[in-house]
């Protein structure tokens, strides 16, 4: 074995010395091959053969099991019975276990076959340098420059330059064609359907609310009345949800008291961070917690952020009651609800 076989000893940049070749051990070459039991013992080889065949046979059994599970297990589900979930799962589990045996049997059999009965003596293949020979490289370069010369790329810059220009312009329609992917945002991100006098209805069951429906410390999820009648109810619903909470009026600060009604306050439920519903209310601490990224808002401080990645407080919806005593919005939101966007300002 030559000394420098481990890495070609190519002259390298100044200062990048490696340990001199003479100071290195020689590669001792492949260790002597050790035969397996199946190589020397015909009985062991026969046994391995039977094991492989058994695994393949087992695979067949698995396939049959999967088919039996598919056809034999009850799957005549009728609407209205939640117990059928168990049947669904049993059917799928048994089809799956059958498939597992079918697939794994083939795989394990093939690997066992290769490991016990196919040759396990390692072979050596030489690598060849990836770069072409100097002649190949010169020839390739020659072909390319000859072709470029034939095309007149250098001699006719007018053709070359006008082609580059045309190619640069051609993709423009592709970009323009994407224009109709969606409408312009306009002011949509800043608007909700809440306005003065919109009744608050329970989410999801519906029904207007009176102040007396809320006891101290209770929280009700509400939506604006008429949401379903809008053009895009789901889009409006992504902005409109509100949390209604009744607190001891003394706990409220001055700012939130202005929009409150007898200690009942209404805040946008859409997180000012990434738009998740801020649905977790801690009754003892009067904190609202967003389950997505744990932004925490303090109801006693007009929903100021006291922890987490959100920056802005949840916008308050000023509320009052109408002449029949139902809770209604005293006005729309005074600012955009939900996550930040560039034009929000």
């Amino acid at each position: 074995m030559s000394e420098n076989q481990n890495l070609p000893d190519v002259a390298r940049e100044d200062g990048h010395g490696t340990v001199a070749v003479s100071q290195r051990f020689d590669n001792p070459g492949l260790p002597p091959h050790r035969q397996r039991v199946t190589d020397i013992d015909a009985a062991a080889a026969k046994r391995a053969e039977r094991q492989v065949a058994t695994l393949f046979g087992l695979s067949g059994v698995g396939t049959i099991l999967a088919l039996v599970a598919y056809f034999a297990l009850p799957y005549d589900l009728e609407a209205g019975y939640i117990e059928h979930l168990g049947q669904v799962k049993l059917s799928n589990a048994l089809i799956g276990v059958g498939l597992f045996i079918a697939l794994f049997g083939i795989g394990a059999g093939a690997v066992h076959w290769a490991k016990t009965l196919m040759p396990d003596e390692e072979r050596v293949e030489e690598r060849h340098e990836l770069r072409g020979s100097d002649e190949d490289r010169a020839a390739a370069l020659g072909i390319l420059s000859e072709g470029a010369e034939e095309a007149g790329l250098g001699r006719r810059p007018l053709i070359r330059n006008s082609l580059i220009g045309a190619m640069a312009l051609a993709p423009l329609p592709a970009v323009v064609l994407l224009r109709d992917l969606g409408p312009m945002p306009e002011a949509k991100l800043s608007e909700t359907i809440w306005k003065k006098g919109t009744p608050l209805v329970r989410d999801p069951e519906g029904g207007k609310l009176k102040a007396s429906d809320l006891v101290n410390g209770s929280v009700v999820h509400v939506l604006p009345e008429g949401l379903e009648e809008t053009e895009h109810p789901l889009n409006e619903k992504a902005k409109a949800p509100v949390l209604l909470i009744r607190l001891d009026p003394e706990l409220l600060d001055e700012a939130s008291s202005a929009g409150a009604y007898e200690g009942i306050v209404a805040y946008s439920k859409i997180c000012t961070h990434m738009g998740c519903p801020v649905a977790l209310y801690e009754q003892q601490t009067h904190h609202l917690l967003c389950p997505c990224h744990q932004s925490t808002f303090d109801l006693r401080q007009n929903c100021k952020v006291i922890f987490g990645p959100a920056r802005r407080p949840l916008p308050q919806l000023p509320i009052t009651v109408d002449e029949e005593g139902y809770l209604v919005a005293a006005d729309g939101f005074h600012e955009a609800v939900g996550p930040s966007f560039w034009e929000r300002g």
Binding site: Q5, N6, L7, R12, E13, D14, G15, H16, T18, Q23, F25, P28, G29, L77, A79, G80, Y81, K89, N92, L94, G96, F100, I101, L103, F104, A108, A110, V111, K115, M118, P119, D120, E122, R123, V124, E125, E126, L130, G182, P183, P185, H221, H232, L234, N235, A238, H273, M274, G275, C276, P277, H293, Q294, F307, P309, R312, P339, F341, W342, G345
Partner: protein
């Protein structure tokens, strides 16, 4: 049928294909190609096979799935959802789960295979990184691999979103907020993507096309290129006796690897099937269809999105402010776009960064043992620590519930650890690598400890050390180390710029990589150690020189 007629039939089939396709040349080139064997080479195979499983099960799912956000009223067999307003996408996915026999199994295989796909690609990438398999001539394949991991994350997220259930819808809402946070164009991008306001009805059919057509086509092309390069460049191999930089030692593609790798496909498929048969994943019927108003506590994305979600959770709100009349949401931009970008770009460029430090332009087909390249190994461990900390942060709420700790304390602790722990891991890993190299030197110089204590006639005790045989020894001495660039003036005595002396930055980087190093034992050192039984000095003698 006798053997001769079988052979004749096979011969005529071979002749038919060869005369039309020249198949004999391909067989001659490929069938006996040698591939080296090592368990860690299976990681890439797992990724490839889970991709094939994804294609197969994905076609099945697409036969029943309806890619539409159109409203419908659920009237299937699952009682709790009956008469609820849901999207057709959601109703059809629940239908696949309950009305199609084996449909739930197929959904679960598809989902589990997706999780395994990204995980296998990630671990395969770690293997390639720590063994230096990305070095010349494989830099391009490293880049393709990185792109595949990133696309795998995107593809997984889109597929996870298709059922339009409450959990994935919340994920899309978060994605839309990230887009909204982009300065200047955010609102427009979001409106174009969703066909108007969030959630709209365009998003589901749009991501369906991307999920089942566009990205799979890109995957097939990139995976094809990845494998073609593997064949052209031949697989790397671990160092060992008989293995050199100019050969490949292993088994032929046909029949050994055909059986082993082909069999392994069935094993991967089988194991994922068993997992899917027995372990429920993504029970969308329990979540309900997407509705922007409700949410569940403990909302978690699939594992590969966890690091990004964790980064977002760790951030504080200070990053958001208003200036010049516009809103700047750095509380979202930094964790959701900047940090993933800062993690990805150095990763993709790493082969060139290291090449710049070593100045090594040679082809490398022998892998490094990670301990023999301490700085690279330590950098990798540092990066993985950073990633895992972000990933853990993505589960801070689950940790708080399970461990009964305050979520605020957990988050604050992680905010500190994310800065402290990665550098600590870097230092510790580097020390461990250097220590292991010294241990290797010790073994070569003084042999293996046999635990046999001998008393000499003079009453002296010593442990018998058994010298390593030349094959075992070769594993420990085969590598070479790099020295940092010499501190030469960049101009020679005549004031001419010294070529290749490198800029100050290059020298500093080279010093950072190779200042601390342990050289492998040389034959001379071994001879000296044999001469002097108490030659412990010899272990440190060469290891300390800077």
């Amino acid at each position: 049928m006798t053997t001769t007629t079988t052979a004749k039939k096979a011969g005529s089939l071979a002749n038919w294909t060869d005369e039309r396709l020249g198949a004999s040349k391909g067989v001659k080139f490929l069938a006996r190609k040698i591939f080296p064997d090592h368990w860690s080479f299976m990681l890439g195979e797992v990724a490839l096979y889970s991709f094939i499983i994804l294609l197969l099960t994905g076609v099945f799912l697409s036969l029943f799935y309806i890619p539409s956000a159109g409203h419908t009223v659920y009237d299937g067999v699952y009682a709790p959802l009956v008469n609820q307003q849901v999207s057709e996408a959601y109703a059809s996915t629940v239908g696949i789960s309950f009305d199609v026999r084996g449909g739930l199994l197929m959904r679960q295989i598809h989902h589990w295979a997706a999780l395994v796909f990204v995980a296998a690609m990630t671990v395969h990438m770690f293997r390639v990184f720590f063994t230096g398999a990305f070095r010349k001539p494989r830099e391009l394949n490293w880049v393709i691999g990185c792109v595949l991991v990133l696309l795998g994350i995107v593809e997984g997220f889109l597929g996870y979103s298709l059922p339009d259930d409450l959990l994935s819808g919340t994920g899309i809402r978060i994605a839309s907020s990230i887009i909204l946070a982009i300065p200047v164009v955010g609102s427009y991008l979001s409106f174009f993507l969703f066909g108007g306001e969030f959630p709209g009805e365009s998003f589901i059919p749009r991501i369906y096309t991307i999920h089942v057509l566009l990205l799979p086509a890109i995957f097939l092309a990139l995976i094809g290129a990845h494998l073609v390069m593997l064949v052209i460049q031949k697989h790397t191999q671990y160092p060992g006796p008989g293995r050199t930089n100019t050969n490949v030692v292993g088994y032929p593609l046909f029949p050994v690897y055909t059986a082993k790798a082909g069999g392994f496909f069935f094993i991967v498929f089988g194991v994922i099937t068993l997992l899917s048969a027995l372990v429920t994943i993504n029970p969308i019927w329990a979540y309900g269809g997407y509705d922007p108003s409700p949410v569940t506590a403990g909302s978690q994305p699939d594992w590969y999105m966890g690091f990004m979600d964790g980064a977002v959770r760790l951030m504080t709100g200070w990053g958001e402010f208003t200036a010049f009349g516009f809103t700047w949401s750095f509380n979202i931009l930094i964790p959701a776009l900047l940090i993933p970008g800062l993690m990805t770009i150095p990763l993709i460029l790493y082969p060139w960064i290291e090449q710049w430090a070593t100045g090594d332009r040679r082809e490398h087909h022998l892998l490094d043992r990670p301990r023999n390249v301490p700085t690279r190994t330590a950098l990798g461990a540092m990066g993985i620590t950073f990633y895992i900390l972000l990933w853990i942060s993505g589960g801070n709420d689950i940790m708080a519930t399970v461990l009964r700790l305050s979520i605020n304390d957990i988050t604050l602790t992680l905010r500190v650890l994310i800065f402290i722990l990665p550098p600590v891991v870097y230092i510790v890993t580097k020390r461990i690598c250097l220590g292991m190299q010294r241990k290797d030197r010790d073994k070569v110089l003084h042999g293996r400890e046999t635990a046999v204590i001998v008393r000499t006639e003079s009453g002296e005790y010593f442990e018998v050390h058994e010298p390593l045989d030349e094959y075992k020894r070769w594993n420990l001495v085969q590598h070479e180390t790099h020295e940092p660039l010499a501190e030469l003036p960049s101009e020679d005595a005549n004031g001419v710029r010294r070529p290749g002396a490198g800029s100050g930055w290059k020298r500093r980087l080279s010093k950072f990589y190779f200042e601390q190093r342990v050289e492998p034992v040389t034959p001379a050192e071994l001879a000296a150690a044999h001469h002097d039984h108490h030659g412990h000095e010899a272990i440190e003698a060469t290891s300390a020189h800077h």
